[in-house]
Symmetry: C2
Subunit: 459 residues, 2 copies
């Protein structure tokens, strides 16, 4: 019998990770704490609980437990949607003619179409357990909104989703799927909130931004009894839930004794990237492993590669806690010709810290190069990727082509976060050559930076 590595590596149900991995417990130096925007003091549990579920607030502040047990009820749901396969990209390797081995962890094989469901179900579970009756959230590309509407339907919780207006109009079927699962979709900015009305007054006709949708969601949550706000990225507890991706990846690699040379994933707010790299980071910090860890972002929203490492608000309305992170400024909005997600102005504090301390790399890519890679991948591997995920594909292909030059048999592992079923308008634009690239000028970036708060910590 041949020792061929299977095309798809599946874990058995009893091999599924039973604990999430908490990177905050293993950072050599903790990242700086979130600050209460009024007092400018570190957020306490009480501060957090005003907006978030109690259990999620505790997870956010937990910097000691490396492993956190996944509740049995969440495990049972995970068994419906997981494990996701780790796939050897035999055909992609073949058409590239590379000696490299390419693997991808595919998180898109569920109705939400992405990894977002891993955290959505956990957040809905904790909300239910706490006796909440409704949740609010925002969604950009729509993957998070879909995942959360599925999760709320599962637990019988009402949901209001503020959807970035540009996305809602580009992707009417995303809105429809959220509604099919019972979610109430409001295009953001909207007239339903004070912050929405202010933004509309200042920027009439704006397509909105994730930061603005966050502000609206938080406003409704804090004004509604038995209602909290949840979000699908940026926060450390979201990365905690997403660590299931990395934990499964690690187990699958070990099962076939595959030692990765590089781990690649895209970064918007950082949820998939953080979850994917979580269990790999300890050995990188300790120097036991020397794999490269590469964050990929769109050139049109270059948070890590061109942002500042300072305290900033998580939202445009400047009501959220202040977080120390790479940011383009809470007022930054990427050009409207940028398709899909990865349009958030900041990056999760753990990721920002790891990048600042040199444990991870970051690179940015152009939109048309991303779609070109997406189509190469789709035609060879039979999966139509989400544009977000295709950022990772672009870099994986580029690295594999470098191996073709050097003859190195590097093992490249990337996270394929979701499917492109709801991005066909963007694919059509690319095929019809009406898609453009956008790289913000230094002047454009300055405008965003000017919205960073002028507080003592930023001096």
């Amino acid at each position: 019998m041949s020792k061929r590595i299977p095309t798809k590596i599946y874990l058995n149900e009893n091999e599924l990770p039973k604990y999430w991995y908490n990177m905050n417990a293993v950072l050599k130096e903790k990242h700086e704490p979130a600050l209460n925007p009024k007092t400018l003091k570190p957020c306490t549990l009480e501060d957090m609980e005003k907006v978030f579920c109690t259990e999620l607030s505790k997870q956010e502040l937990n910097t000691t437990d490396e492993f956190i047990k996944i509740p049995e009820e969440i495990m049972d749901f995970y068994k419906m949607i997981r494990p996701s396969p780790l796939t050897r990209a035999y055909y992609l390797e073949k058409i590239l003619g590379t000696p490299a081995e390419i693997y991808y962890k595919f998180e898109g094989n569920n109705t939400s179409g992405s990894h977002k469901l891993n955290s959505a179900i956990a957040q809905a579970y904790y909300a239910k357990k706490q006796g909440l009756t409704s949740l609010t959230t925002e969604t950009g590309a729509g993957q998070w909104g879909t995942a959360l509407s599925m999760s709320c339907a599962f637990y019988g919780i009402d949901l209001t989703v503020f959807m970035v207006k540009a996305s809602a109009e580009q992707k009417p079927y995303r809105k429809a799927i959220i509604e099919t699962f019972g979610g109430n979709v409001i295009k953001s900015p909207s007239e339903t909130t004070e912050v929405g009305r202010k933004i509309l007054e200042k920027f009439p006709g704006t397509g909105g931004s994730l930061g603005c949708a966050v502000s609206e969601s938080v406003e409704i949550a804090t004004n509604t009894p038995n209602c909290k706000y949840v979000l699908g990225s940026v926060m450390d507890h979201v990365l905690l839930h997403q660590s299931i991706i990395g934990l499964e990846t690690q187990k699958a690699l070990k099962k076939y004794k595959i030692e990765p040379d590089m781990l690649i994933s895209c970064v918007g707010g950082g949820s998939n990237f953080g979850g994917f790299i979580a269990p790999f980071i300890k050995d990188k910090i300790n120097g036991k492993k020397n794999y490269r860890i590469i964050a990929v972002e769109p050139a049109s929203c270059p948070t890590l590669t061109r942002g500042k490492y300072v305290y900033d608000y998580g939202d445009t309305g400047m009501i959220s806690p202040l977080m120390k992170m790479y940011t383009l400024g809470n007022g930054f909005i990427p050009s409207s010709n940028h398709a899909g997600g990865l349009r958030y102005h900041g990056a999760n504090p753990i990721i920002s810290k790891l990048y600042h301390d040199g444990y991870i790399e970051a690179t940015s890519v152009n939109q048309t190069d991303v779609f070109d890679a997406a189509i190469t991948f789709a035609k060879s591997e039979g999966i139509l990727p989400a544009p977000e995920s295709a950022h990772s594909i672009r870099v994986a292909i580029d690295e594999a082509l470098k191996c073709k030059e050097t003859g190195e048999k590097k093992k490249i592992v990337f996270c394929l976060t979701g499917t492109g079923f709801f991005d066909l308008a963007a694919y059509s634009d690319f095929l019809n050559k009406t898609m453009e690239n956008y790289i913000p000028t230094d002047e454009d970036l300055q405008k965003g930076f000017s919205t960073i708060p002028d507080i003592p910590q930023n001096k």
Copy 2:
């Protein structure tokens, strides 16, 4: 440790079936042969080859080999998209409060969104092997067109898809995904063929039908050098390829010693139903097993439950071979308020024969009941089903509810053929209560029956 059956049963790569299952080798009495429409004599290999690839023609006429080896190249592709999971519907059981065990084989976890890819890749492979440079086909709901465009992209073959006009307009993104994979989509009926022009003249403004799209595809294929016609259902060789579904299901059930009491799947032309039941039929015919095998069809296109078992054309243009099958008449077109697929006028000859001989049952269901079941399933099992697949869900739920009455712990297994990502307009209609049911009157059916050819065999 508990002996709980896993939520998802996956086969290992080395457990994947290496042979397709040919029901024609085990029918107690062979079904009557396809007839050359000009001579009214049984189709020979030469007749078949004029339209179809040689190897597929041979498979169509093979009534002796129970197992047919899957070529290595197709196995390699199957390893990318298979195995599909057999899932225990623990949460659906729970919300129904039924003592029944419900299992579903989910074929929608690939970019084509359905089981159609199982046969599409095989047909593209044989076309490539024969040195063809282009293929033509038709698509209704768009699943087959997507699957074939992916397969042709994989092998570098040109593809023209005649898409039923009503579907193309209901599902613009289906068209876009076919084009993303390089397929050329033409709305049918079209001005590009003689038969299309005739139909447009007779029925201006028609939304088209699968039968009409077949005629147009065949016309182009027979008039173009190095081009053949392929199709995604109805033919015996398609069911042969789809037997991979049933073979995997059977293996997964055996792995956990699950003895099914009933097998349920939807029928349009019959490809998923035939493939799903293929390896189970021998024991049913021999009387070794007494499981029920239930075909589900839409009340608006009641081929098995209200059709005639006679010779009819496979296409509206009456140029295809004549097949002995249950049919509503090649001129039958379901009401335009019928959403999704399962709109073909006939049913595959093997299935028709099995139904006629009493080995399988058939039932029909109303559209709104189908969508109601779909949403119950989506909210509990976290998968948005294709409307076609939801026909099976409806009957599975009804049978599970009967068990609730009787207290029986029946084991219900159904095939979940695909996802509903491209059917959100129909879901919105259902949610907005603008969806209607349609049950053809006897008079409506008479109109269809009047298009059945008046040939000696039908006397």
